[in-house]
């Protein structure tokens, strides 16, 4: 097998005295779509945020494309990386948030162009050309000059996806990208994610959309209590779970 895009080895994380991650192990192959499901408070968002070092892990190791995230190994110790080195790693990892987090003082187009221009140092013309293409890809070419406040939730989330893609990431993280949306707007966002998966993007998706996980996911992990309880092909995990906890969770959400 090729080198995994994401590899987590015994990842631990606490907030003060609250242990949130108790040794998470998982792997995501390149071009694979991994869906993470689990009850509220099980540490799904926290784990996702560890992958791009928005949260520091306390113990264990996390690799993205073979590279240790947030730390460098030197002389048998893990040394925390400086801010710039961490920022450098994050360039390759796109993230989409539950609450969109678009920049409200910029138009859709400016949102998408911002990081390529300021972080990658692309020329405005190049960045603009790419941004126009991406907004077209998510079906928003007509709204590129609108501000986030003038867009619906579904449109905002699609701009957010385009914004993350503009950095040409090799991995995309989604944290419940449709949970803040009205039911009739969920479909348009899932469609964009589906076509992204078809194009071969490696994706880690925390979601409550079991239908999406079953259809688009190549693998599903069920997390509870800060550990991976069960993982495997969506058909197995979501249809014939082996663990009682998984079955109990699924009976509640399906």
């Amino acid at each position: 097998m090729a080198q995994p895009m994401v590899k987590a080895v015994q990842v631990h994380k606490s907030f003060g005295r609250v242990k949130v991650l108790n040794g998470v192990d998982l792997e995501v192959a390149p071009r694979e779509v991994l869906c993470i499901v689990g009850p509220s408070g099980s540490g799904k968002s926290t784990f996702l945020r560890c992958i791009n070092h928005l949260e520091k892990i306390d113990a264990g190791q996390l690799f993205v494309d073979g590279e240790l995230v947030g730390y460098a190994r030197r002389g048998g110790k893990m040394h925390e990386l400086g801010e710039r080195a961490v920022a450098e790693q994050r360039k390759n990892i796109g993230m989409v948030f539950q609450r969109f987090n678009l920049f409200p003082h910029m138009t859709a187009l400016e949102n998408v162009m911002e990081a390529p221009v300021r972080v990658r140092g692309e020329s405005r013309a190049t960045a603009r050309e790419h941004a126009v293409k991406l907004l077209d890809q998510v079906g928003l070419s007509a709204r590129r000059d609108m501000y986030p406040a003038q867009l619906s939730g579904g449109q905002q989330q699609r701009v957010a996806i385009a914004r993350a893609l503009a950095m040409r990431p090799k991995l995309m993280l989604f944290d419940e990208p449709t949970s803040a949306l009205d039911p009739e707007l969920v479909g348009e966002v899932l469609d964009v994610m589906r076509s992204l998966a078809e194009d071969g993007m490696t994706m880690v998706v925390v979601t409550h959309e079991m239908g999406f996980a079953r259809e688009v996911g190549d693998a599903v992990v069920f997390m509870d209590g800060g550990v991976v309880v069960e993982s495997g092909h969506p058909r197995d995990v979501l249809v014939n779970p082996r663990h009682a906890r998984t079955a109990a969770f699924l009976s509640k959400v399906l």
């Binding site: 920022a87 948030f97 406040a149």
Partner: protein, 305 residues
């Protein structure tokens, strides 16, 4: 029933009568008339003297110094205040402690006293020198020469202002959703870049209105600089009336100038606020009420398309 239904569309509405408003308006009119009357008939106002001096060289020179003091002190206050606000919000306990102590000291003592301290700094440090701490000295200056009344005024006003601006800027930065900085960092921005490009432009909406207030306050606080014998607007007026005894007219002259500049600052604040409202729901639509000002602004140079 049918009759009511058919005539609803054509029925005019009658506004409620508000007799209280008419009474209040009448009272206000009478009071205004009395005020205007006394302005005009009380000869001790000496409006001719007021307007003789209004554009005199000495008053205008004082006005220029007042504006200069206001602008420079506010600039120092805003820049240093931003730095202090960022320090105060830093995870580094030393940085945030230093910022806290600065604010505690400069907000906790009267600006008048601070001005006096800077004015008398040479009593404390007769010579100021540049060199390696506890090591050799490169040059040194006499404090009296270096800290002129103007410099003392700028230091006193600017450093005091920074303490207030720090709290205003901190409130502004805290008003921006944490998700904004996170989204910026997730895109590979460093904290500094995220602050400059993403957080501060949004914080400005909260920072600008109280800063306008501070600028107007500063314009008037510069009059305290008279204590350093620096001839800004008020002290210039005082110098003139101590010679010609036209005390009241000259105080009115100065007051009219303060009022005029305050008004100009308020208009400036409007435009700055509108600039930073970019993308908010108000600027995105529903601006009819401000339509005329928008059109005025559209003709001003330097606007983004």
């Amino acid at each position: 029933m049918t009759q009511a239904a058919e005539s609803v569309e054509s029925m005019p509405t009658v506004r409620r009568r508000q007799p209280g408003r008419w009474v209040a308006a009448a009272v206000v009119c009478v009071l205004l008339a009395m005020l205007v009357n006394t302005f005009v008939t009380n000869e001790r106002f000496q409006w001719d003297v007021v307007f003789d001096w209004f554009t005199s060289d000495r008053i205008l020179a004082g006005l220029g110094r007042t504006i200069q003091l206001t602008v420079i002190s506010m600039l120092i206050g805003i820049v240093l205040g931003l730095v202090l606000a960022v320090m105060r919000l830093s995870d580094n306990p030393l940085l945030s402690g230093v910022a806290w102590a600065y604010i505690w000291l400069f907000r906790g003592t009267p600006v008048f006293v601070q001005l006096l301290f800077w004015g008398f700094i040479s009593a404390l440090y007769p010579r100021l020198s540049l060199g390696v701490p506890f090591g050799p000295e490169f040059t040194s200056f006499s404090a009296n020469e270096l800290i002129s009344p103007f410099v003392a005024a700028i230091l006193g006003l600017g450093l005091n202002e920074a303490a207030y601006m720090a709290e205003i800027a901190r409130a502004g930065i805290l008003s921006v959703d944490r998700g904004q900085a996170e989204a910026a960092q997730a895109l590979g921005m460093t904290r500094g870049l995220a602050l400059r490009r993403i957080v501060l432009p949004q914080a400005m909406r909260v920072i600008v209105p109280p800063t306008g207030n501070q600028a107007i306050g500063m314009l008037k606080t510069t009059s305290l600089v008279a204590v350093l014998a620096y001839p800004e607007l008020l002290y210039s007026a005082q110098l003139i009336y101590s010679a010609n005894y036209q005390t009241i007219p000259l105080l009115i002259t100065a007051s009219l100038w303060y009022l005029l500049i305050t008004s100009v600052l308020s208009v400036g604040q409007f435009f700055v606020e509108r600039h930073f409202a970019r993308g908010s729901v108000i600027s995105a639509g529903a601006t009819d009420r401000r339509g005329s000002l928008r059109r005025l602004a559209a003709r001003l140079p330097g606007r983004r398309p």
